[in-house]
């Protein structure tokens, strides 16, 4: 050791913010590294729309994503026959924004609630949701796993409530009660331009009360609030839900600007005007603030619940090795 020379001891002790001399390690750059990775890989988002026909589901989805992404735009006729049983039809598009690529899948459920007898019309939907969980699970237990398992699980289910102004229908309660434990349900009041603001407020209150009385927890669920900050943000949202929306893919001139809206004899209903309807709030909530959280709750809660149940119902997992072809579920 160099005993005779003058040296000064460096800062010892644990660093918080680095030592005062030459003190920057650079840990915060990991955020940037992660961001680069997310941008490169892109991500999947799967949204299901449920509700009787004619409630403007396709229009709303197109308005949300500002593109013709719904099934109806994919070339099927708008006035096709109502199917005899609930069908599941999904359409995928890759959309890009700000360097971020999203594979958006809209899962439509034509026939839901349209029959005379709608008993068990939620079953094909429940089955579809579980099938996506099963698909993911199979990939997870594979010996040779893909780097990125394709995610077809339903991250969000927009449930369309008809604007009756009275209360929830039996079908609404049944559906949400049965599905709220396997998928994130976001109820919306469709075609809300048929109600005045007061009627709307009262209707919403009644709907929330009824959901509470039936023990139905819609997204964002209280039990999954991470911390006080989350809780406070989410409480505000929960008190505004269900969002009363209006959808439109037509533009009109208002005050010199082109806006999306519906033109009536008594005025133009502007879709993105928060004084007219809550579309903008729904969009911000769904896409700009809670998109990632919807995926995480699906993955960490709903999927894990499914997985735990499958592991418990022992012997149900079929063998998959990289050599075998996939076996169909019995």
């Amino acid at each position: 050791k160099n005993k005779g020379l003058q040296v000064l001891k460096a800062n010892s002790g644990f660093s918080s913010g680095g030592s005062t001399l030459l003190g920057y390690i650079g840990i915060d750059t990991i955020i940037e590294q992660m961001r680069k990775k997310t941008m490169k890989t892109g991500f999947d988002f799967n949204i299901m729309v449920v509700g009787p026909s004619g409630l403007g589901k396709s229009t709303l989805v197109n308005t949300l994503f500002k593109s013709q992404v719904s099934r109806k735009s994919a070339g099927w006729a708008r006035d096709e026959k109502i199917p005899k049983t609930v069908e599941i039809k999904s359409v995928s598009h890759v959309i890009e924004e700000g360097g971020v690529k999203m594979k958006l899948t809209i899962v439509d459920t034509p026939g839901f609630g349209d029959q005379i007898n709608n008993d068990n019309c939620w079953e094909p939907i429940s089955k579809y949701i579980n099938e996506q969980f099963e698909k993911f699970l199979k990939e997870e237990v594979n010996i040779t796993r893909k780097k990125r398992i394709p995610d077809t699980r339903v991250h969000c289910c927009l449930y369309f409530i008809p604007p009756t102004g009275h209360c929830l229908r039996q079908l609404d309660v049944e559906f949400m009660r049965r599905l709220s434990h396997s998928v994130n349900i976001i109820p919306v009041i469709a075609k809300s331009d048929t109600m005045t603001i007061e009627e709307r407020q009262e209707f919403k209150q009644r709907v929330r009360k009824e959901l509470e009385n039936n023990g139905i927890e819609f997204y964002p669920q209280k039990e999954f609030d991470d911390d006080m900050e989350d809780k406070s943000d989410n409480d505000k949202i929960r008190e505004t839900m269900p969002f009363a929306v209006v959808g439109s893919d037509k533009e009109h001139q208002v005050n010199g600007k082109r806006v999306l809206g519906r033109k009536t004899a008594w005025g133009i209903i502007e879709v993105e005007n928060p004084n007219h309807c809550e579309f903008a709030q729904l969009r911000d909530f769904l896409i700009r603030s809670h998109l990632q959280d919807l995926k995480e709750v699906t993955h960490n809660i709903h999927y894990e619940t499914y997985r735990a149940k499958r592991l418990n119902d022992n012997g149900g997992l079929h063998p998959i090795s990289s050599n075998d072809t996939q076996e169909k579920n019995p």
Binding site: S15, I25, G26, T29, R35, K40, E97, M102
Partner: protein, 378 residues
Amino acid sequence: MDQDKEYVGFATLPNQVHRKSVKKGFDFTLMVAGESGLGKSTLVNSLFLTDLYKDRKLLNAEERITQTVEITKHTVDIEEKGVKLKLTIVDTPGFGDAVNNTECWKSVADYIDQQFEQYFRDESGLNRKNIQDNRVHCCLYFISPFGHGLRPLDVEFMRALHEKVNIVPILAKADTLTPIEVKKKKFKIREEIEQYGIKIYQFPDCDSDEDEEFKQQDLELKESIPFAVIGSNTVVEAKGKRVRGRLYPWGIVEVENSTHCDFIKLRNMLVRTHMQDLKDVTRETHYENYRAQCIQSMTRMVVKERNRNKLTRESGTDFPIPMVPGVAESETEKLIREKDEEVRHADRAPDSVPDREHESHQSSEQQEPSDPRDDRER
């Protein structure tokens, strides 16, 4: 961007992801390996501005003779600009210190495997809420500057571990070498690494759309292996500046001077540019290889048992939980299955001859599993 009519808003997704990650914090496990006295502890402290080895007692030669290779863990929480990192340093005191160092890397390899195994169990379990990830993301291997390139121990260690962990070779105490000597030694070591088929951590290639400066940096990085480093826990005065360094009669070696050593390159690589990739490669390649091997050996065991049972009279009605190959099982399932096997063995008459016949049947029935590593891209 809000003014843009076409703006939907999902471009905010990376921010949403980042917000959640910042809340959760990150973790990173770094292993340091190499003979004693190569400056490992000093380097770790220099890299992360910590003081992890404050109360360490240095053993003398006699005390070291009886010491076996230990594995020690130090964890420290570091926060910078709101980002929290839980850093774990895994050290291997005693490595290479004995007279006979045969297989002294075994406890290191076992440690790495144990972390994989624990993760595999947790991942296959029922409740996956709070899985602790203790897998080793990177191993800095210290090569002595006093040899002529790699020594036999260096080669054996790296070959034993290169498929379990990301190895980053370090040329230690580089201040004992002149720049020309450093260059020659690096070249020799790189040559030998290739010659002996050692697979060190590969920096991912640049995207074609990166700017020229980035590409240049990337190239320099790849050509700097092994990183010639100098570490220091002391601050010295140089030309009126205060720097981290080593004070010699003939001058001052500055740790953070890139003309003196590769410390900055190493730190930038480890923390500022490749930390995420090191974790990804650990997860997607090393861990997946381990897992695949694990499942396949479990499968072979099960197939063996099944075949043995098939050929006894008691089989047929009496199968245990239908354990199918290729499925990861939980603790309880495994225990139940093992218990069942025990019971079945106890029931059977102790007759060794039929067993041997069964053995020969088995080998023809077993399929040869394909090597997952062939399919795995890197």
